[in-house]
C-alpha cells in the first residue's frame, strides 16, 4: 500500500512551514512526522516528504541518511537504545548492553521474532548524572541496572507499561 500523509498531517506540515522563511527548514520536522506515521524512513517515506515539501528527493535522502534518529529500516515496537558512551559505561552500561543482547537474542538493529524489540547502542544521551540511561522510543529510563532492565523488558513484554 502506498504511503501517504493524512490531511491532518499535511495541515501540520503547512503549519510547521510557517515557522521558517524557507520551506526547506521543515525537512527535519517533516521527517520526524513521517517516522511517527510510517514507523521508519523508507525510500518511499522520503519521496512522500519530498513531495509534501516540494523539495528534491535527493535533498531529503541526504538529510534522512545523515541523522541517526531517522530509522532507515523497520524497528520493533520498542526501540531499545542503550547509551554506551563514557559516563554510562563507567557506571556499567556495557554489562547492561551485553545482557540485553543475550536476553533479546537479536543482532544490533534487527527486530526480535515477536516483533517487540530492536536493540541499538547509542552515543551520549545527555543523561550522564543518572547513568546508565536507556532510551526506549521517546522515553528515558535512568539509573539502570541489569535487574531493573530485566524488569523493564518483562513489563513491556506483558504489556504492563507502554512507552
Amino acid at each position: 500500500m502506498a504511503l501517504r500523509f493524512t490531511d491532518q498531517d499535511m495541515k501540520e506540515i503547512e503549519a510547521i512551514c510557517q515557522l521558517y522563511p524557507d520551506k526547506k527548514a521543515a525537512t527535519l520536522p517533516a521527517l520526524h512526522l513521517a517516522q511517527k506515521r510510517f514507523g521508519f524512513i523508507s525510500e518511499e517515506a522520503i519521496r512522500v516528504v519530498a513531495d509534501a515539501l516540494e523539495l528534491p528527493v535527493a535533498h531529503v535522502m541526504g538529510v534522512a541518511t545523515f541523522y541517526t534518529m531517522y530509522n532507515k529500516k523497520a524497528v520493533g515496537k520498542y526501540h531499545v537504545q542503550v547509551c554506551t558512551n563514557i559516563s554510562c559505561a563507567l557506571m556499567g552500561s556495557r554489562e547492561i548492553f551485553q545482557h540485553l543482547k543475550r536476553k533479546l537474542d537479536v543482532d544490533l538493529g534487527e527486530i526480535t521474532k515477536d516483533g517487540l524489540f530492536t536493540l541499538q547502542e547509542v552515543e551520549c544521551l545527555g543523561s550522564c548524572g543518572t547513568a546508565p540511561t536507556i532510551q526506549i522510543n521517546e522515553q528515558y529510563f535512568e539509573n539502570m541496572t541489569v535487574e531493573k532492565t530485566d524488569a523493564l523488558i518483562e513489563s513491556l513484554k506483558k504489556g504492563e507499561i507502554d512507552v
Binding site: 522563511p21 527535519l28 545523515f66 556499567g92 550522564c128
Partner: protein, 426 residues
Amino acid sequence: MSEYVLFKQLIDPDVRELNHYIKLGGYEGLKKALEMDPTAVVEEVKKSNLRGRGGAGFPCGLKWSFMPKDDRQKYFLCNADEGEPGTFKDRYIMSENPHQLIEGMVIGGFAMGASVGYIYIRGEFKFIADQLQKAVDEAYAAGYLGENILGSGFNFELYLHLGAGAYICGEETGMIQSLEGCTGQPRLKPPFPAQVGVFGKPTTVNNVETIACVPDIIRKGANWFLTIGPERNNGTKIYAVSGHVNNPGVFELPMGTPLREIIFEHAGGILDGKKVKAIIPGGSSAPVLGPEHLDIAMDFDSLKEAGSMLGSGAIIVMHEDTCIVEAFARLADFYAHESCGQCTPCREGTPWMAQIIRNIENGDGREGDIELLYDICVKIIGRTICPLGDAAVFCVKGALDRFRDEFEYHIQHKKCLVENKVAIYG
C-alpha cells in the same frame, strides 16, 4: 551558601510555572530592558563579563555587539543541542526553570534587533522540548512573547526546533545548516554568523546556560554579577558531575569553585572510597586531568592555564579501576562516529585514531603506535572547518600526554595495567 542565578527550582520547585517565576522577580529584567536603549543592554551584558557556557567561553556581550545595526531581518538562536559526552545541564534549565531561558531570549532579541528566535534542541530531548513548549505557550498568552511585548512595540517570535541525532549540530554553523533543513555540516568562517547566519541573515548563537544568565544581569545589574566568581570569570556555573562519584548530578556554584569541593562535597566523593585516577573537567573534549589537579579553580582561565578547558563544565570522574586506554578507545570511537565527513583530516583521522587505540586495548598494539597517534593529531588539528577534529585531538592527546605509561604497558605486555577493571568497551 551560594546564590542561585539559574537553578531557581531550588528556591521554588514550581518555578517552571509562570506565576511562580514572576514571584521570584521573573520578567522584571525584560521590563527593564525594554525601557533601555538596545545598545545599553548589550553594554550591560558586556560589562558583566558573561562568557559563553557552551564550551568556548567567548564573551557574550561582545558576541552580541557583532550584530549589524541595519534593518535586515536578524535571528537569535539558542543552542540546546547538549551532546558533549558528560554534559547534562541545559536540560534542567529547560525543564525546571524554562521561563528564565525564554526571558533571556526576548532580552537578547531586543538587544540585537532580532525579531525571531529558535531554540534548537537535540531530538532525543523531545520530552524536555514538550515541557519547554508549555512555558513558551504560557509566555505568549501573558504577552511576554509575540507582538508588541508589554506595550513596547517590540515583537519577538520564539520557536522550538528538534534536531535528529548529530553531535556536530552543537557547532554553531552546523546548527545553522541543520535549522535550514540540511545535513549539519559546518560552514567556513568568515563569513561569521553575525554577517551571514541562518537563512542568509545576521544570526547570533548562544548556549542555554549563557542566555539564562541574562535576565538577572539586567534586573540586578552587571555589578551584581561581577560580585560572583573570580575576575573575568564571573557568575555562577552549573557543574555536571558524572562517572565514579557517590552523588552524581548538577550543581550550581560560583565560577572558580575548587574541583575538590565539587567532587568531594557536592558530588559525595569517589565510589567505594576508591582513589581518583582521571578527571575530565569540561566534557569529553577537554584534556584529561589527574588527582594532582584537585585544587584547581574551576573557571575558564585557571583550566586554560592547566592545559585543559572548562568547556561545558561537565566533570567526568574515573577511579583507579578504570583502564585509561579502554576509556579513551570509547571516546575516540565517539568522535569517529560523529565526524560529519566533510574534511578529510577529521573524516579519516578520527576513525584511524580510534582503530589504533582499540588495537592497543585489545593487545594488538605495535611499537610506534603512540608516535603514530601523535602524528595523526598534528595532521588533524587546525586543518578542519570546525573544531570537532580539534576536540578529538584534545581528548586523545590529553590521555596520551598524561597516561602514556598505561598505553606503553598495553603495547609491551598485551594486557591492561588495571586488574578487575570496569568493563567499558567490547
